[in-house]
Symmetry: C2
Subunit: 220 residues, 2 copies
Amino acid sequence: MRKVFQEELAQVGEQLVEISKLVSEAFEKATTAFEGADIDLAEDVIAADARIDFLQNSLDERAIDILALQGPVASDLRMIVGSLRMSASLERMGDLARHLAQLARLRYPANVIPQPLQETFKNFAKYDLEIAEKLTVLLETRDLEVARDILKANTAVNDLHLSIFKSIARSDWTESAATTVDVALASRYFERFADHGVSVAQKVTYLVTGAWHPTSIEHS
Amino acid sequence: MRKVFQEELAQVGEQLVEISKLVSEAFEKATTAFEGADIDLAEDVIAADARIDFLQNSLDERAIDILALQGPVASDLRMIVGSLRMSASLERMGDLARHLAQLARLRYPANVIPQPLQETFKNFAKYDLEIAEKLTVLLETRDLEVARDILKANTAVNDLHLSIFKSIARSDWTESAATTVDVALASRYFERFADHGVSVAQKVTYLVTGAWHPTSIEHS
Protein backbone atom coordinates (compact mmCIF):
# COMPACT_ATOMS: atom_id res chain seq x y z
CA MET A 1 0.00 0.00 0.00
CA ARG A 2 2.70 2.43 1.06
CA LYS A 3 4.68 1.67 -2.08
CA VAL A 4 1.69 2.29 -4.35
CA PHE A 5 1.12 5.57 -2.57
CA GLN A 6 4.70 6.72 -3.11
CA GLU A 7 4.43 5.81 -6.78
CA GLU A 8 1.25 7.82 -7.09
CA LEU A 9 2.89 10.81 -5.47
CA ALA A 10 5.82 10.47 -7.86
CA GLN A 11 3.42 10.36 -10.81
CA VAL A 12 1.87 13.65 -9.74
CA GLY A 13 5.37 15.15 -9.63
CA GLU A 14 6.17 13.76 -13.08
CA GLN A 15 2.95 15.16 -14.50
CA LEU A 16 3.84 18.61 -13.15
CA VAL A 17 7.19 18.34 -14.93
CA GLU A 18 5.43 17.27 -18.12
CA ILE A 19 3.05 20.26 -18.00
CA SER A 20 5.96 22.57 -17.24
CA LYS A 21 7.81 21.28 -20.33
CA LEU A 22 4.75 21.85 -22.52
CA VAL A 23 4.43 25.39 -21.14
CA SER A 24 8.09 26.14 -22.01
CA GLU A 25 7.58 24.76 -25.47
CA ALA A 26 4.35 26.72 -26.00
CA PHE A 27 5.97 29.90 -24.74
CA GLU A 28 9.05 29.52 -26.94
CA LYS A 29 6.88 28.94 -30.01
CA ALA A 30 4.53 31.78 -29.05
CA THR A 31 7.34 34.30 -28.72
CA THR A 32 8.96 33.10 -31.94
CA ALA A 33 5.60 33.53 -33.71
CA PHE A 34 5.21 36.87 -32.01
CA GLU A 35 8.65 38.14 -33.03
CA GLY A 36 8.59 36.82 -36.57
CA ALA A 37 4.89 37.23 -37.38
CA ASP A 38 4.63 33.49 -38.07
CA ILE A 39 0.96 32.52 -38.27
CA ASP A 40 1.46 28.74 -38.52
CA LEU A 41 3.48 28.67 -35.35
CA ALA A 42 0.87 30.89 -33.68
CA GLU A 43 -1.88 28.46 -34.71
CA ASP A 44 0.19 25.58 -33.29
CA VAL A 45 0.40 27.24 -29.89
CA ILE A 46 -3.30 28.06 -29.84
CA ALA A 47 -4.24 24.47 -30.71
CA ALA A 48 -1.73 22.93 -28.27
CA ASP A 49 -3.08 24.83 -25.28
CA ALA A 50 -5.98 22.35 -25.02
CA ARG A 51 -3.43 19.63 -24.20
CA ILE A 52 -2.08 21.66 -21.27
CA ASP A 53 -5.61 22.21 -19.98
CA PHE A 54 -6.33 18.49 -20.33
CA LEU A 55 -3.18 17.53 -18.43
CA GLN A 56 -3.98 19.99 -15.68
CA ASN A 57 -7.43 18.45 -15.26
CA SER A 58 -6.04 14.96 -15.25
CA LEU A 59 -3.39 15.90 -12.66
CA ASP A 60 -6.09 17.46 -10.49
CA GLU A 61 -8.29 14.36 -10.74
CA ARG A 62 -5.34 12.18 -9.78
CA ALA A 63 -4.48 14.42 -6.83
CA ILE A 64 -8.08 14.33 -5.60
CA ASP A 65 -8.14 10.53 -5.95
CA ILE A 66 -5.00 10.31 -3.83
CA LEU A 67 -6.59 12.54 -1.21
CA ALA A 68 -9.70 10.37 -1.18
CA LEU A 69 -8.08 6.95 -1.25
CA GLN A 70 -4.85 7.45 0.67
CA GLY A 71 -5.71 10.21 3.14
CA PRO A 72 -2.16 11.58 3.08
CA VAL A 73 -0.96 13.69 6.01
CA ALA A 74 1.88 16.08 6.82
CA SER A 75 4.37 16.71 4.02
CA ASP A 76 2.63 14.35 1.58
CA LEU A 77 -0.62 16.24 2.04
CA ARG A 78 1.13 19.57 1.52
CA MET A 79 2.72 18.21 -1.62
CA ILE A 80 -0.64 17.14 -3.05
CA VAL A 81 -2.36 20.43 -2.23
CA GLY A 82 0.70 22.30 -3.50
CA SER A 83 0.48 20.36 -6.76
CA LEU A 84 -3.12 21.51 -7.25
CA ARG A 85 -1.92 25.09 -6.89
CA MET A 86 1.14 24.65 -9.10
CA SER A 87 -0.87 23.02 -11.85
CA ALA A 88 -3.26 26.01 -11.80
CA SER A 89 -0.31 28.42 -12.19
CA LEU A 90 1.21 26.36 -15.01
CA GLU A 91 -2.14 26.20 -16.80
CA ARG A 92 -2.38 29.98 -16.56
CA MET A 93 1.14 30.32 -18.00
CA GLY A 94 -0.06 28.20 -20.93
CA ASP A 95 -3.00 30.59 -21.36
CA LEU A 96 -0.65 33.56 -21.46
CA ALA A 97 1.48 31.88 -24.15
CA ARG A 98 -1.77 31.37 -26.07
CA HIS A 99 -2.69 35.05 -25.61
CA LEU A 100 0.64 36.06 -27.17
CA ALA A 101 0.07 33.69 -30.08
CA GLN A 102 -3.43 35.11 -30.54
CA LEU A 103 -2.01 38.64 -30.70
CA ALA A 104 0.49 37.46 -33.35
CA ARG A 105 -2.38 35.92 -35.34
CA LEU A 106 -4.54 39.02 -34.99
CA ARG A 107 -1.89 41.34 -36.41
CA TYR A 108 -0.48 38.95 -39.02
CA PRO A 109 1.25 39.66 -41.44
CA ALA A 110 2.35 42.74 -39.45
CA ASN A 111 4.47 42.52 -36.35
CA VAL A 112 2.62 43.12 -33.07
CA ILE A 113 5.51 45.15 -31.66
CA PRO A 114 6.82 48.28 -33.43
CA GLN A 115 10.47 48.14 -34.47
CA PRO A 116 11.97 50.36 -31.73
CA LEU A 117 10.62 48.07 -28.99
CA GLN A 118 11.36 44.72 -30.63
CA GLU A 119 14.72 44.38 -28.89
CA THR A 120 13.11 44.99 -25.49
CA PHE A 121 10.50 42.33 -26.18
CA LYS A 122 13.23 39.89 -27.24
CA ASN A 123 14.77 40.42 -23.81
CA PHE A 124 11.39 39.91 -22.22
CA ALA A 125 11.04 36.61 -24.08
CA LYS A 126 14.54 35.56 -23.09
CA TYR A 127 13.97 36.06 -19.36
CA ASP A 128 10.48 34.55 -19.42
CA LEU A 129 11.76 31.52 -21.30
CA GLU A 130 14.57 31.20 -18.76
CA ILE A 131 11.91 31.19 -16.02
CA ALA A 132 9.84 28.55 -17.81
CA GLU A 133 12.82 26.29 -18.45
CA LYS A 134 14.24 26.64 -14.96
CA LEU A 135 10.83 25.84 -13.54
CA THR A 136 11.06 22.41 -15.16
CA VAL A 137 14.53 21.94 -13.65
CA LEU A 138 13.29 23.11 -10.26
CA LEU A 139 10.33 20.71 -10.34
CA GLU A 140 12.67 17.86 -11.31
CA THR A 141 15.54 18.58 -8.93
CA ARG A 142 14.04 20.77 -6.16
CA ASP A 143 17.37 22.60 -6.18
CA LEU A 144 16.60 25.91 -4.49
CA GLU A 145 19.50 27.61 -6.26
CA VAL A 146 17.31 27.35 -9.35
CA ALA A 147 14.44 29.03 -7.49
CA ARG A 148 16.74 31.95 -6.78
CA ASP A 149 17.63 32.22 -10.49
CA ILE A 150 13.92 32.39 -11.26
CA LEU A 151 13.50 35.24 -8.79
CA LYS A 152 16.39 37.09 -10.38
CA ALA A 153 14.95 36.69 -13.87
CA ASN A 154 11.60 37.93 -12.57
CA THR A 155 13.25 41.14 -11.34
CA ALA A 156 14.60 41.68 -14.86
CA VAL A 157 11.10 41.07 -16.28
CA ASN A 158 9.57 43.61 -13.91
CA ASP A 159 12.18 46.19 -14.95
CA LEU A 160 11.41 45.60 -18.62
CA HIS A 161 7.67 45.90 -17.96
CA LEU A 162 8.26 49.25 -16.28
CA SER A 163 10.50 50.45 -19.12
CA ILE A 164 7.80 49.60 -21.69
CA PHE A 165 5.22 51.65 -19.82
CA LYS A 166 7.71 54.52 -19.59
CA SER A 167 8.29 54.34 -23.36
CA ILE A 168 4.57 54.57 -24.01
CA ALA A 169 4.24 57.58 -21.70
CA ARG A 170 7.06 59.51 -23.40
CA SER A 171 6.19 62.54 -25.50
CA ASP A 172 7.93 61.09 -28.58
CA TRP A 173 5.67 58.00 -28.62
CA THR A 174 3.81 58.20 -31.95
CA GLU A 175 2.31 54.73 -32.39
CA SER A 176 -1.38 54.22 -33.16
CA ALA A 177 -3.84 53.52 -30.35
CA ALA A 178 -4.21 49.89 -31.49
CA THR A 179 -0.45 49.34 -31.38
CA THR A 180 -0.24 51.09 -28.01
CA VAL A 181 -2.82 48.71 -26.58
CA ASP A 182 -1.07 45.68 -28.11
CA VAL A 183 2.24 46.72 -26.59
CA ALA A 184 0.71 47.36 -23.16
CA LEU A 185 -1.21 44.07 -23.12
CA ALA A 186 1.73 42.05 -24.42
CA SER A 187 3.96 43.60 -21.76
CA ARG A 188 1.42 42.63 -19.13
CA TYR A 189 1.25 39.04 -20.45
CA PHE A 190 5.04 38.72 -20.21
CA GLU A 191 4.97 40.16 -16.71
CA ARG A 192 2.12 37.89 -15.54
CA PHE A 193 3.84 34.84 -17.06
CA ALA A 194 6.92 35.51 -14.92
CA ASP A 195 4.73 36.17 -11.88
CA HIS A 196 3.06 32.77 -12.14
CA GLY A 197 6.50 31.21 -12.55
CA VAL A 198 7.53 32.85 -9.29
CA SER A 199 4.41 31.47 -7.58
CA VAL A 200 5.40 27.95 -8.57
CA ALA A 201 9.00 28.52 -7.48
CA GLN A 202 7.79 29.79 -4.10
CA LYS A 203 5.54 26.78 -3.71
CA VAL A 204 8.41 24.38 -4.39
CA THR A 205 10.60 26.31 -1.94
CA TYR A 206 7.88 26.05 0.66
CA LEU A 207 7.53 22.32 0.12
CA VAL A 208 11.29 21.82 0.44
CA THR A 209 12.00 24.13 3.37
CA GLY A 210 8.62 24.49 5.07
CA ALA A 211 9.20 28.26 5.10
CA TRP A 212 6.82 30.29 3.03
CA HIS A 213 9.02 33.35 2.59
CA PRO A 214 12.72 32.51 2.93
CA THR A 215 14.85 35.64 2.85
CA SER A 216 16.06 34.88 -0.64
CA ILE A 217 12.54 34.54 -2.04
CA GLU A 218 10.69 37.80 -1.84
CA HIS A 219 7.04 38.20 -2.54
CA SER A 220 6.59 39.87 -5.89
CA MET B 1 -16.38 13.49 15.67
CA ARG B 2 -18.81 13.62 12.76
CA LYS B 3 -20.51 16.68 14.25
CA VAL B 4 -17.23 18.52 14.67
CA PHE B 5 -16.38 17.70 11.08
CA GLN B 6 -19.66 19.08 9.76
CA GLU B 7 -19.11 22.24 11.76
CA GLU B 8 -15.64 22.63 10.31
CA LEU B 9 -16.97 22.20 6.80
CA ALA B 10 -19.65 24.81 7.53
CA GLN B 11 -16.98 27.19 8.78
CA VAL B 12 -15.07 26.89 5.51
CA GLY B 13 -18.29 27.74 3.68
CA GLU B 14 -18.89 30.73 5.94
CA GLN B 15 -15.37 31.98 5.42
CA LEU B 16 -15.85 31.83 1.65
CA VAL B 17 -18.99 33.95 2.07
CA GLU B 18 -17.07 36.39 4.24
CA ILE B 19 -14.29 36.77 1.67
CA SER B 20 -16.87 37.16 -1.08
CA LYS B 21 -18.55 40.00 0.86
CA LEU B 22 -15.22 41.76 1.35
CA VAL B 23 -14.51 41.43 -2.38
CA SER B 24 -17.89 43.02 -3.24
CA GLU B 25 -17.21 45.82 -0.83
CA ALA B 26 -13.68 46.39 -2.16
CA PHE B 27 -14.93 46.36 -5.73
CA GLU B 28 -17.76 48.79 -5.04
CA LYS B 29 -15.38 51.21 -3.31
CA ALA B 30 -12.74 50.76 -6.03
CA THR B 31 -15.15 51.61 -8.83
CA THR B 32 -16.56 54.56 -6.89
CA ALA B 33 -13.00 55.83 -6.38
CA PHE B 34 -12.29 55.12 -10.02
CA GLU B 35 -15.36 56.98 -11.30
CA GLY B 36 -15.10 59.95 -8.97
CA ALA B 37 -11.31 60.25 -8.69
CA ASP B 38 -11.57 59.79 -4.91
CA ILE B 39 -8.10 59.14 -3.52
CA ASP B 40 -9.13 58.40 0.08
CA LEU B 41 -11.48 55.67 -1.05
CA ALA B 42 -8.77 54.32 -3.36
CA GLU B 43 -6.33 54.17 -0.43
CA ASP B 44 -8.95 52.34 1.63
CA VAL B 45 -9.29 49.62 -1.00
CA ILE B 46 -5.53 49.24 -1.37
CA ALA B 47 -5.08 48.91 2.40
CA ALA B 48 -8.05 46.54 2.83
CA ASP B 49 -6.76 44.04 0.28
CA ALA B 50 -4.33 42.64 2.86
CA ARG B 51 -7.34 41.48 4.89
CA ILE B 52 -8.68 39.49 1.93
CA ASP B 53 -5.26 37.89 1.42
CA PHE B 54 -5.09 37.06 5.12
CA LEU B 55 -8.55 35.44 5.09
CA GLN B 56 -7.68 33.42 2.02
CA ASN B 57 -4.58 32.07 3.73
CA SER B 58 -6.49 31.27 6.87
CA LEU B 59 -9.23 29.48 4.90
CA ASP B 60 -6.58 27.47 3.06
CA GLU B 61 -4.87 26.48 6.31
CA ARG B 62 -8.20 25.40 7.75
CA ALA B 63 -9.02 23.37 4.64
CA ILE B 64 -5.65 21.63 4.76
CA ASP B 65 -6.14 20.85 8.46
CA ILE B 66 -9.49 19.27 7.67
CA LEU B 67 -7.88 17.19 4.93
CA ALA B 68 -5.17 16.06 7.33
CA LEU B 69 -7.28 15.40 10.40
CA GLN B 70 -10.59 14.21 8.97
CA GLY B 71 -9.61 12.54 5.71
CA PRO B 72 -12.86 13.54 4.02
CA VAL B 73 -14.05 11.57 1.00
CA ALA B 74 -16.57 11.92 -1.83
CA SER B 75 -18.58 15.15 -1.85
CA ASP B 76 -16.96 16.50 1.32
CA LEU B 77 -13.53 16.10 -0.23
CA ARG B 78 -14.69 17.82 -3.44
CA MET B 79 -16.10 20.64 -1.36
CA ILE B 80 -12.80 21.17 0.47
CA VAL B 81 -10.70 21.07 -2.69
CA GLY B 82 -13.27 23.30 -4.42
CA SER B 83 -12.98 25.78 -1.57
CA LEU B 84 -9.23 26.02 -2.10
CA ARG B 85 -9.88 26.90 -5.73
CA MET B 86 -12.71 29.32 -4.99
CA SER B 87 -10.68 31.15 -2.37
CA ALA B 88 -7.90 31.60 -4.94
CA SER B 89 -10.37 33.11 -7.44
CA LEU B 90 -11.87 35.41 -4.80
CA GLU B 91 -8.42 36.55 -3.72
CA ARG B 92 -7.62 37.37 -7.34
CA MET B 93 -10.87 39.37 -7.62
CA GLY B 94 -9.69 41.35 -4.59
CA ASP B 95 -6.38 41.99 -6.38
CA LEU B 96 -8.23 43.30 -9.43
CA ALA B 97 -10.28 45.69 -7.27
CA ARG B 98 -6.96 46.87 -5.83
CA HIS B 99 -5.52 47.35 -9.35
CA LEU B 100 -8.48 49.61 -10.20
CA ALA B 101 -7.95 51.61 -7.00
CA GLN B 102 -4.25 51.90 -7.81
CA LEU B 103 -5.08 53.29 -11.26
CA ALA B 104 -7.42 55.84 -9.64
CA ARG B 105 -4.63 56.83 -7.24
CA LEU B 106 -2.04 57.06 -10.03
CA ARG B 107 -4.12 59.49 -12.10
CA TYR B 108 -5.60 61.48 -9.22
CA PRO B 109 -6.89 64.24 -9.35
CA ALA B 110 -7.73 63.41 -12.98
CA ASN B 111 -10.19 60.72 -13.96
CA VAL B 112 -8.66 57.51 -15.32
CA ILE B 113 -11.33 57.19 -17.99
CA PRO B 114 -11.94 59.96 -20.56
CA GLN B 115 -15.40 61.46 -20.53
CA PRO B 116 -16.87 59.74 -23.64
CA LEU B 117 -16.21 56.29 -22.14
CA GLN B 118 -17.26 56.99 -18.57
CA GLU B 119 -20.80 55.78 -19.15
CA THR B 120 -19.51 52.48 -20.59
CA PHE B 121 -17.28 51.97 -17.56
CA LYS B 122 -20.22 52.69 -15.24
CA ASN B 123 -22.04 49.84 -16.96
CA PHE B 124 -18.97 47.66 -16.58
CA ALA B 125 -18.91 48.43 -12.86
CA LYS B 126 -22.65 47.72 -12.56
CA TYR B 127 -22.41 44.25 -14.12
CA ASP B 128 -19.22 43.35 -12.27
CA LEU B 129 -20.73 44.44 -8.97
CA GLU B 130 -23.81 42.37 -9.76
CA ILE B 131 -21.53 39.38 -10.30
CA ALA B 132 -19.68 39.99 -7.03
CA GLU B 133 -22.90 40.42 -5.02
CA LYS B 134 -24.63 37.43 -6.59
CA LEU B 135 -21.55 35.34 -5.87
CA THR B 136 -22.13 35.93 -2.17
CA VAL B 137 -25.78 34.89 -2.57
CA LEU B 138 -24.75 31.82 -4.57
CA LEU B 139 -22.23 30.76 -1.94
CA GLU B 140 -24.85 31.22 0.77
CA THR B 141 -27.82 29.61 -0.95
CA ARG B 142 -26.31 27.38 -3.69
CA ASP B 143 -29.30 28.44 -5.79
CA LEU B 144 -28.22 27.68 -9.36
CA GLU B 145 -30.62 30.28 -10.74
CA VAL B 146 -28.15 32.80 -9.31
CA ALA B 147 -25.29 31.07 -11.13
CA ARG B 148 -27.17 31.60 -14.38
CA ASP B 149 -27.59 35.31 -13.59
CA ILE B 150 -23.83 35.53 -13.11
CA LEU B 151 -23.26 33.95 -16.50
CA LYS B 152 -25.64 36.43 -18.10
CA ALA B 153 -23.90 39.38 -16.49
CA ASN B 154 -20.57 38.00 -17.68
CA THR B 155 -21.82 38.01 -21.28
CA ALA B 156 -22.67 41.70 -20.87
CA VAL B 157 -19.18 42.34 -19.46
CA ASN B 158 -17.55 40.59 -22.42
CA ASP B 159 -19.60 42.70 -24.84
CA LEU B 160 -18.52 45.88 -23.06
CA HIS B 161 -14.87 44.78 -23.12
CA LEU B 162 -15.13 44.25 -26.87
CA SER B 163 -16.83 47.62 -27.39
CA ILE B 164 -14.03 49.39 -25.50
CA PHE B 165 -11.38 47.82 -27.70
CA LYS B 166 -13.40 48.79 -30.78
CA SER B 167 -13.59 52.40 -29.53
CA ILE B 168 -9.83 52.51 -29.12
CA ALA B 169 -9.29 51.14 -32.64
CA ARG B 170 -11.58 53.73 -34.26
CA SER B 171 -10.01 56.46 -36.37
CA ASP B 172 -11.59 59.22 -34.28
CA TRP B 173 -9.84 58.02 -31.08
CA THR B 174 -7.62 60.94 -30.05
CA GLU B 175 -6.64 60.15 -26.46
CA SER B 176 -3.00 60.15 -25.34
CA ALA B 177 -1.02 56.93 -25.26
CA ALA B 178 -1.08 56.91 -21.44
CA THR B 179 -4.87 57.22 -21.38
CA THR B 180 -5.20 54.57 -24.08
CA VAL B 181 -3.19 52.14 -21.96
CA ASP B 182 -5.20 52.99 -18.84
CA VAL B 183 -8.46 52.35 -20.66
CA ALA B 184 -7.25 49.06 -22.12
CA LEU B 185 -5.87 47.78 -18.81
CA ALA B 186 -8.92 48.89 -16.84
CA SER B 187 -11.15 47.15 -19.37
CA ARG B 188 -9.11 44.00 -18.96
CA TYR B 189 -9.34 44.21 -15.15
CA PHE B 190 -13.14 44.45 -15.34
CA GLU B 191 -13.24 41.54 -17.76
CA ARG B 192 -10.93 39.36 -15.66
CA PHE B 193 -12.91 40.18 -12.51
CA ALA B 194 -16.07 38.81 -14.15
CA ASP B 195 -14.16 35.79 -15.44
CA HIS B 196 -13.01 34.81 -11.96
CA GLY B 197 -16.59 35.28 -10.76
CA VAL B 198 -17.71 32.82 -13.42
CA SER B 199 -15.05 30.33 -12.29
CA VAL B 200 -16.45 30.41 -8.77
CA ALA B 201 -20.02 30.09 -10.04
CA GLN B 202 -19.01 27.07 -12.14
CA LYS B 203 -17.30 25.50 -9.16
CA VAL B 204 -20.43 25.90 -7.01
CA THR B 205 -22.54 24.47 -9.84
CA TYR B 206 -20.19 21.51 -10.07
CA LEU B 207 -20.37 20.90 -6.34
CA VAL B 208 -24.17 21.03 -6.40
CA THR B 209 -24.84 19.02 -9.55
CA GLY B 210 -21.67 16.97 -10.01
CA ALA B 211 -21.65 18.15 -13.65
CA TRP B 212 -18.77 20.32 -14.65
CA HIS B 213 -20.40 22.00 -17.65
CA PRO B 214 -24.19 21.96 -17.39
CA THR B 215 -25.79 23.24 -20.58
CA SER B 216 -26.73 26.50 -18.92
CA ILE B 217 -23.19 27.20 -17.76
CA GLU B 218 -20.92 27.68 -20.73
CA HIS B 219 -17.20 27.86 -20.49
CA SER B 220 -16.06 31.43 -21.00
